[in-house]
């Protein structure tokens, strides 16, 4: 592999360029008109315009990306996360163009992208799934029949959904009937597929996921779990490893279930198996993300590995360089997502970063695609940076994080910096005893 096109933007494009440079691999960074001044473009070997600001006219255009890869002499494509990273048609288009896709094969992407098919597949492989639909529900009555069987509250979800979009919690039949049509319409609009399904809502659940890695010879290992329960609108805000509240027995069981899930689809490259864990530590498969995850750096911090380097090696046909027993976690790591948004209403705050200074603290890694002076466009995700803090133990991590967020200054846009500081003094978060309801509770308590 000599030259890689990065079909993405922002911090993940910057992060992939960094590893490729270290490995002596050239990079082609693509940009929309809204992103032409972002600082990481200068770090790429080639920066190439891909289209207009809306993602549908740039980062989501399969033909334009393949054309760009060919025109610039690339031999591989890294999809990053979001955008086309979990689109099987994109995987196929890359491969048909004679390029290497740095990720799993199209079939695994397709199977896991259909959340109903994925549930069935996991059940067959002996991985526990949340009680719910075995088939799509097409009418409110069908949905209610499943909900009556599993019991309210339920989650109404889009079969082609993910990333927290296209899902609604319904407390009773009336709420389910009210939400049905709008969720169906939204699923059709966002994912091009109106199919919905029902899962029992696991109240007070913790969202715990396992990083897995497979190579093309069929070997699969895990790189431990991540606790991702600090969420707003079903989207993650803070992630950490190891999961502070999990028993050793559950940690073993959940990581083994994740490996079983990945083997069941002959998975290769980086993937994440997401689970919901209830108060009794019973865990259920939620979905598998067939790509590098936003929060992969917490795993890198505790394992000392570079997951992008591993992705490149596996895509290149090399076997995994380490076995399961060679990988031991050290210390604790927490990632804080810095969002351009109001810390109280969570409404987005696009604009221009007028000034931005971060304290330099040992063990703190800041991944970003922006700098002081950068415009933060309204077209894409509000995440402007990830702050990853690593230390020998969790208490030391939190202490460093407090120093970081107290010392950081940013002007021109609103961010959730204040929310992170509040979280860092919340007794439940500090004790590591929290579930997905934490941020909502904190908002109500103020």
């Amino acid at each position: 592999m000599k030259r890689v096109l990065i079909a993405n933007r922002g911090e993940i494009a910057a992060r992939i360029i960094k590893t490729c440079r270290r490995l002596g691999i050239e990079t082609v960074a693509v940009y929309s008109d809204a992103d032409r001044d972002l600082p990481y473009l200068e770090q790429a070997t080639v920066a190439r315009r891909i289209g207009e600001p809306p993602a549908a006219k740039s980062y989501m255009k399969i033909d334009a990306l393949i054309e760009a890869a060919k025109a610039t002499g690339c031999d591989a494509v890294h999809p990053g996360y979001g955008f086309l990273s979990e689109n099987p048609a994109f995987v196929r288009a890359v491969e048909e163009a004679g390029l290497v896709f740095i990720g799993p094969d199209a079939e695994a992407v397709r199977l896991m992208g259909d959340k109903i098919a994925a549930r069935a597949h996991m059940k067959a492989a002996g991985v526990p799934v949340v009680p719910g639909s075995d088939h799509p529900v097409t009418t409110p009555d069908e949905a209610a029949a499943v909900a009556d069987r599993v019991g309210y509250p339920v989650m109404l979800k889009a079969a082609a959904g993910g990333g927290g979009i296209g899902m609604v919690r319904c407390a009773d039949r009336e709420a389910l009937e009210r939400a049905f049509v709008s969720t169906q319409t939204r699923a059709k609009t966002y994912f091009g597929n109106a199919a919905l399904f029902i899962e029992k809502a696991i109240e007070g659940g913790r969202h715990i996921e396992v990083q897995i890695f497979g190579d093309k010879s069929g070997r699969v290992i895990h790189l431990f779990e991540r606790e991702c329960s600090v969420q707003r609108r079903h989207q993650k805000v803070v992630e950490e490893a190891p999961a502070p509240s999990l028993s050793e027995a559950t940690r073993r069981a959940i990581t083994q279930a994740a490996v079983r899930a990945a083997r069941a689809v002959r998975y290769h490259n980086a993937g994440t198996v997401e689970f919901i864990v209830d108060a009794d530590e019973k865990f259920y498969f939620l979905e598998m993300n067939t790509r590098l995850q936003v929060e992969h750096p917490v795993t890198e911090a505790i394992t000392g590995l570079d997951l992008v380097e591993w992705q490149v090696a596996v895509a290149d046909g090399q076997p995994l360089s380490l076995g399961q027993d060679d990988i031991r976690p050290r210390g604790a790591a927490v990632e804080f997502r810095l969002y351009a948004e109001d810390p109280e209403t969570f409404y987005p705050s696009p604009g221009t970063i007028e000034a931005w200074a971060c304290p330099d603290i040992e063990g703190v890694r800041v991944d970003t695609g922006y700098a002081a002076g950068s415009p933060v466009p309204p077209f894409y995700d509000p995440m402007i940076a990830k702050v990853i803090v690593h230390a020998p133990d969790r208490a030391a991590v939190l202490q460093k994080a407090r120093r970081f967020f107290t010392g950081m200054t940013i002007r021109g846009i609103k961010t959730n910096q204040a929310l992170h500081l509040k979280l860092l003094s919340d007794p439940r978060f500090v004790a590591g005893q929290y579930d997905t309801s934490l941020l909502n509770r904190m908002a109500k308590e103020k």
Binding site: A340, Y347, P348, S349, P350, P378, P382
Partner: protein, 70 residues
């Protein structure tokens, strides 16, 4: 005459009122998408819709007038 303005830059997803409609302060009149999030836009005052200044699919900047009320 009062304007209902875009609270932030984004793409107008839908306009929920039409010319001649009566609206009350707090009524949701449009939906804006910004940074992958749907933002409900509410009327700041009571009035009658005199003009719609932007259509679904339009990109609007913070402060752009969307709806004129009389």
């Amino acid at each position: 005459m009062r304007h209902i303005e875009a609270p932030m830059a984004g793409t107008l997803l839908s306009v929920l009122v039409k010319k001649g409609d009566e609206v009350k302060a707090g009524d949701q009149v449009a939906v804006l998408e910004s940074m992958k999030m749907e933002i409900p836009i509410e009327s700041g005052a009571d009035g009658t819709v005199a003009e719609i200044k932007a259509a679904a699919g339009d990109f609007v900047n913070e402060g752009d007038p969307l709806i004129v009320l009389v």
